[in-house]
Amino acid sequence: MDTAGLDILNQAGFWAMVALTVAGASIAIFPRNILYNVLGLALCMTAIAAIYVFLGSLFIALMQFLIYVGAICIAIVFAIMLSRPLHLEMPPRPASKVAMATAAAVLFFVAIVGVVLKTDWTPSAARVADSSLWSVEAIGRALLTRYELVFEVISLVLLVAIIGAVITAGLSRRLSS
């Protein structure tokens, strides 16, 4: 296949992933059934992982897939499934609130798109076009040298979050029974 054909295929793949992202996001916010929302979120996250591949980082794409689809979506599904009444019906949303939320979101979108299109984006002068900087090796080296403190603090935050989640969910059971 010649390069023009490959390029068209590439573009088609990219726009298909964008369409999947937007479709997943709409499924994640519009249906009333909470389980559809979670499945839409999983679809959206998978498509965003594919967009990261188009942006040149296979590692971040894999991490996105692993953490969001594999951990967060599954955790939300378990929270819904394990406590059966969590998907009980909500009262219908008042139309005025939906209209105000839509207006706020549209206003935000228009403002951001205006800023994006008006700004003249110029690459940093110190930018190096070295493809080896995109490798996992470079990320690992930066994580354990320049960003090591942040790395350790993140692990501490995760530990505190685990303990806090166990205490919050476990203690309230003891109090209410």
Partner: protein, 102 residues
Amino acid sequence: MNSLSTYLIISALLFSMGLMGILQRRNLIGMLISVELLLNAANLNFMAFNRFLAPDPVIGQIIALFVMGLAAAEAAIGLSIILALYRKMHSINIERAQRLKG
């Protein structure tokens, strides 16, 4: 390939959809899902700037990783708070969680 503006507009669209979700939903789990959409839009921005503008392409990827780690912590805490709140109120409609209202 595609220009920077394409990615920025996609991420702005994702962010406004998340914003709309968080403003109109009354279900706490639905709001948590919308927060995840917001975090992903920010992450997509980091990766796009990283790909097209940043001096050192490692930094944007590391920030994206950190955001993912914090999102995982936030989801764990959020879900446990939702479960605790449900046991107390027998509902996850946030308009009924008004005990702190003065």
